[in-house]
């Protein structure tokens, strides 16, 4: 295992699962801001 391999695993983790977590947070914020999720 080289430093390049580790960098690549981190990259896939950020661009895959990491990005999807951010998008879920966006969906939550948008629902709140645009009125759909207001209590």
């Amino acid at each position: 295992v080289t430093v390049w391999d580790v960098l690549t695993w981190l990259t896939v983790a950020v661009l895959g699962p990491g990005v999807l977590v951010i998008c879920v947070a966006v969906a939550r914020d948008v629902r709140r801001l645009l009125g759909g999720g207001q209590r």
């Binding site: 690549t8 990259t11 661009l15 951010i22 998008c23």
Partner: protein, 488 residues
């Protein structure tokens, strides 16, 4: 038509792309009725949170030039693209998120030009708006869309440029900044996830980094590369433009608060870094394939990635990846059209021609200005062969015109001096135009570096050195204006 791409596309791939385009339009339609005030239209009601800012900053700032351009450079030069060319931008982005964002807190402006106009007055706002408008025209991204249209569907370049512009303008013109940032979120997800999925397939096809090293040699893994240090340093200095990037100011002014901006840049840096490494490593894999004959040795560098994808990605994922290419381009195009149209209407037309425009008129005029900007882009894109040169010119104009007055307005204490802002901005702008004109008239083509050069008083000047002359002129203008214009 590019048969390397189209012959592997299946109906399901095309359906994925069509679904993506349709969903962008639907978002615009759904949000069209929500926009009433101009601040809602242009700044999404100043309510953007950290996650929303991450998506819109990353997807808008990174377009096809990052995806196809950087992977093409990496296929030739290796990891230097990630280390030496990319990381100076990390420093500039960090400074923007940590320092500039704090200084913008509480400012009631709509754009960078508006910010400078409030500080220095109308002449500075006008120079800033002209520079910002020229820079914000997304000519490169439009040409990228045209190239994808040609590669995927065999469309003529002009038609691809028109269709790409039309779709991008349509949803932002309907829904304004909200449509822009929401489509940016979808585009952010598609462009990042598609690259994350493609990376293992493409890297695995050449035997990982061991295979790349065996083919391209140790030189491909030298972080500083093999280019002359001055050339590398000049390239790294282009990162300064981040500090006056109009898109970042528009987004920061639309943010809910300073903490949201800071956190968005910190998270965004991780994503930008990862995206850069993904493009660098797939580019290196492409370079290895060119060296071993899997790809033709004469493959244009900026098409390496497009050629690899249909060869190594399964059915459906190829469509996802091409959707990711479209997303990367369109997220840039829509955001910059909004910024350019805002410059035209709010920063140029309104102060000069009609000061009493109400919100409905401002929104209507901005929509028209987006269409006009798109038309200018298509014409520039179709008729200018060397788009990268045009972009370098625009970026030089932006930095030379705005860097000194912007940083001075945000960081220097004391009362603003209108003459200092005016001389700094117009001085920088005119210095760039003069430098380019001199190089055009008295310079000679440099075929190796694909630019113009001129030998004078024992120095070799390249056209790219305009920044080194124009920024000092701008700083001098600021100093002179500060002395002459100070009120007793």
């Amino acid at each position: 038509m590019d048969r390397h791409v189209t012959q592997f596309l299946r109906p399901v791939d095309l359906a994925v792309v069509a679904a993506y385009l349709a969903s962008m339009i639907v978002i615009g339609v759904l949000l069209a009725g929500r926009v009433k005030a101009y601040r809602d239209f242009f700044l999404a009601g100043r309510s953007l949170t950290t996650p929303i800012l991450v998506c819109t900053l990353v997807s808008s700032y990174y377009g096809l030039d990052s995806l196809l351009g950087d992977s093409g450079d990496a296929s030739r030069e290796g990891v230097v693209v990630w280390f030496t060319y990319g990381r100076p931008y990390t420093i500039a982005l960090l400074l923007t998120g940590l320092l500039l964002a704090r200084r913008l807190a509480g400012r009631d402006a709509l754009s960078l030009a508006d910010l400078l106009g409030q500080h220095y007055g109308r002449p500075t706002q006008l120079a800033a708006a002209i520079a910002s408008f020229l820079y914000a025209l997304p000519v490169l991204a439009i040409m990228g869309l045209a190239a994808i249209g040609e590669a995927m569907f065999g469309l003529p370049l002009w038609l691809g440029a028109c269709l790409g512009s039309a779709v991008s303008v349509a949803y932002v013109a309907m829904g304004g900044a909200w449509a822009d940032v929401l489509t940016d979120t979808a585009q952010f997800a598609i462009m990042c996830v598609s690259l994350a999925v493609a990376l293992p397939f493409i890297l695995g096809a050449v035997g990982g980094f061991a295979g790349v090293r065996a083919t391209l040699g140790e030189a491909a893994f030298a972080p500083l590369g093999s280019a002359p240090p001055l050339y590398t340093a000049a390239y790294a200095l282009t990162a300064v433009s981040v500090l006056v990037e109009p898109l970042f100011y528009q987004r920061m002014l639309a943010a809910r608060d300073t903490a949201a901006i800071r956190n968005a840049f910190l998270v965004g840096l991780l994503v930008w870094g990862a995206y850069d490494w993904a493009t660098t490593s797939v580019g290196m894999a492409g370079g290895a394939m060119m060296a071993t004959g899997v790809l033709p040795a004469d493959t244009p560098r900026d098409q390496v990635l497009l050629r690899l994808v249909p060869l190594y990605l399964p059915v459906g994922l190829s469509g996802l990846f091409l959707g990711g290419c479209l997303a990367a381009a369109m997220s840039t195009v829509d955001s910059y059209f909004l910024v350019a149209a805002g410059n035209l209407v709010y920063d140029i037309y309104r102060p000069l021609v009609r000061r009493n425009l109400d919100d409905r008129q401002l929104i209507r005029y901005t929509r028209v200005a987006m269409l006009a900007s798109a038309a200018v882009c298509v014409v520039l894109g179709v008729y200018f062969e060397r788009i990268k040169e045009a972009w370098a010119f625009m970026a030089t104009i932006l930095t030379s015109t705005l860097l000194v007055p912007t940083l001075a307005s945000l960081f220097l204490p004391g009362r603003p001096v209108p003459l200092a802002g005016a001389l700094a901005s117009w001085g920088g702008l005119l210095a760039v135009l003069l430098f380019y004109a001199v190089m055009h008239v008295w310079g000679a083509p440099d075929l190796d570096l694909e630019t113009r050069r001129m030998d004078a008083v024992g120095l070799t000047l390249l056209r790219e050195y305009a920044l080194f002359a124009a920024v000092p002129v701008s700083a001098l203008g600021y100093a002179v204006g500060g002395v002459l214009g100070r009120r007793p």
